[in-house]
């Protein structure tokens, strides 16, 4: 077997074993739900058998032997000499996890082995692979940012005469630059499975440790997202799952007393939604007691007397840094410790978090993430001598503002926009700007997010950019409504605001 051919087989093995073992894990869940069924046994057997054959063909002996041993045990159930009761099924599930890990190890070792990455000239057919350090890809993205900035300069000159040769050349540059951007961003994609496959073993471990029965279901792992986003997902997902197992899922006896199945169910589901990917992390545990949370929030002055808590308000309270650390609240909320950290990390890569909960029935967290980092169409605004970048996605309109146009209503400043009352937020105050005084006439930027509208007062609007956004390593003290930094056309950076969290 030539090296190039072997590299192709290993790549096929990696992809196919992931898909197959994902299927086996789903079949295991079905089987655990109904141990008397025969169908899942056949499915798991077929997967093991196929994986064994593939692993043996590549000389992955550890994987092949482990799979063979598991297949033999499963054979006893199929032959009727062994009963597939719950403890036995749990052991089988662990064996499938171990086989998954063994496959990944074998592929990783192969990739890391010296001399495996063969000159591209050897074999002209089939996919060929090259391993690239992510730092190099980040460098490429930075270069792309510089190019996008240079293009904007070019566009400004070209716009003076739209029929000139310069304008035509600029159009050509624009088209190719868009193509280059897409290609660079594509190279950075990685499947969610790289994170997802770590979740079931972790959840089962924790459940065993806490004396709980938990079935975890994972789907959508084939969806690809930018590697930077993928890496930033690990902690939030682990956090949400730990909380779900630890606080949300009840002990088997409590569950049965409440008329539920003894084993709790946690699902991590990914699906595409336009340009975004939505990850739902849901459990069928006890749900969050919003009345109790509202009570504590009122005591602390975080919620007005008489106001009630919707799902969005509940999440805002739970992810309020000072709120969640209190032990008394953690106990009753069944959630909490460090939810603020989860939200901050997600905002850092342009992702958002939403919550739905029904007391007694369960909780679902929904993470909406971009599939690609990179280019955001944005508005550049000035606050004093500082510049801030606002993504255009949330901006609905611009209106002129003068001191007389704002009025006080219900303890807050509001503005009439086309007959609708919109609360006003002064970016100077929000950002804590202490420079020279604001101009008298200012633009009000109307934004809409989470179904609410807010008018943001800036000092001036400077223009538009296609900004390449770099997620920020988050030093202490950066407020959560800063999502990243963008490089502007003069080469200087500006902070990008997360408008959804301003609302």
């Amino acid at each position: 077997m030539t090296d190039a051919r072997r590299a192709r087989y290993v790549a096929l093995f990696a992809a196919e074993s992931r898909t197959l073992l994902g299927g086996a894990r789903r079949a295991m869940q079905e089987w655990l739900d109904a141990p008397e069924r025969q169908g899942p046994a056949e499915e798991v057997f077929r997967v093991l058998h196929t994986v064994k054959g593939m692993a043996a063909s590549l000389g992955f002996d550890e994987t092949a032997e482990l799979t063979h041993a598991t297949e033999t045990q499963l054979g006893e159930v199929r032959a009727g000499t062994q009963v597939a009761d719950r403890p036995w099924l749990r052991r089988l599930e662990e064996a499938v996890d171990a086989i998954t890990a063994a496959c990944e190890r074998a592929v990783a070792m192969e990739a890391g082995a010296p001399g495996e990455w063969v000159a591209a000239t050897q074999e002209p057919h089939g996919p060929r692979y090259v391993r690239v350090d992510l730092d190099r890809l980040d460098g490429l993205l930075g270069d792309l940012g510089g190019l996008v900035t240079a293009r904007q300069e070019l566009d400004r000159h070209a716009a003076m005469d739209s029929l000139s040769p310069l304008a035509r050349a600029a159009q050509g540059v624009e088209r190719r630059l868009d193509q280059l951007r897409d290609r660079i961003l594509d190279v950075r994609l990685a499947p969610l499975s790289e994170v997802f496959e770590r979740l079931p073993p972790m959840v089962r471990d924790l459940a065993r440790h806490l004396g709980k029965e938990v079935v975890i279901e994972v789907s959508g792992e084939e969806i690809e997202v930018d590697r930077t986003i993928l890496e930033q997902l690990i902690e939030p997902l682990i956090h949400l799952l730990r909380n779900a197992v630890d606080h949300a899922i009840e002990t088997p006896d409590l569950r049965q007393a409440a008329g539920k199945r003894a084993s709790g169910k946690i699902a991590v589901r990914a699906r595409r939604d336009g340009d975004s990917v939505v990850l739902d992390v849901s459990d069928d545990g006890k749900g969050i007691d919003r009345e109790r949370i509202a009570e504590v929030a009122r005591e602390r002055g975080l919620l007005e007397a008489g106001a009630t808590l919707g799902d969005d308000g509940l999440l805002a309270i739970l992810s309020h840094a000072g709120f969640t650390t209190a032990a008394s609240v953690t106990d009753v909320s069944g959630r909490g410790v460090g939810l603020d950290a989860v939200v901050a990390r997600l905002h850092g890569v342009g992702a958002s978090l939403a919550l739905t909960t029904v007391l007694g029935h369960g909780t679902s967290f929904s993470i909406r993430l971009p599939t690609r980092i990179g280019i955001v169409r944005a508005m550049v605004t000035a606050i004093g001598v500082e510049r801030y970048v606002l993504p255009l996605t949330h901006i609905t309109e611009l209106v002129a503002w003068e001191p007389g146009t704002t009025r006080e209503e219900g303890g807050r400043s509001v503005l009439d926009v086309r007959g609708e009352v919109v609360p006003v937020v002064d970016l100077r105050r929000l950002l804590g700007y202490r420079g020279p005084a604001a101009p008298v006439r200012r633009p009000a930027i109307v934004i809409e997010a989470n179904g609410q509208r807010v008018a943001l007062l800036a000092d001036a609007v400077l223009g538009h950019v296609d900004a390449v956004v770099q997620p920020l390593e988050r030093p202490r003290g950066i407020p959560r409504w800063v999502t990243g930094a963008a490089v502007l056309d003069d080469g200087l950076p500006a902070l990008m605001l997360d408008l959804a969290s301003v609302v």
Binding site: L12, F13, E16, L20, R46, T50, K52, G53, M54
Partner: protein, 120 residues
């Protein structure tokens, strides 16, 4: 050289068998990833030889052998089995398969077996 139909539920295995056979000068007339597909493709393609995996979804390899032999008693089928499936191989031969090779494949064994079965 022979026109061959490859039946296996794993792309990995189909690719590997195809590489071995094309290197030996055979051509791949088609591929199938289940027993049902194998029977359909056999009818449509009429290949010179079939390689048949045993464990597949939607009708396993042995039932597929029976179905193909029922259509064409002269069909030349080579079973591809894993270690520890001797009993199933015997069943497949009784159903009409001509020979077998064992995974993991060794190229020379596969090529020899194909030559034997074709020579009849």
């Amino acid at each position: 050289m022979a026109r061959i139909l490859i039946c296996d539920d794993a792309i990995f295995m189909r690719t590997m068998i195809a590489d071995i056979l094309t290197t030996a000068g055979h051509s791949i007339a088609g591929e199938a990833e289940s027993g049902l597909q194998a029977v359909e493709r056999y009818k449509a393609i009429k290949p010179d030889l079939v390689t048949m995996d045993i464990v597949m979804p939607d009708m396993g390899g042995i039932d597929a052998v029976r179905a193909i032999i029922a259509i064409d008693p002269d069909a030349k089928i080579l079973m591809c089995s894993a270690m520890g499936q001797q009993a199933l191989v015997v069943e497949a031969i009784q159903a009409g398969a001509k020979d077998f090779v064992v995974k993991p494949f060794q190229a020379t064994r596969v090529v020899d077996a194909v030559a034997r079965v074709i020579a009849g």
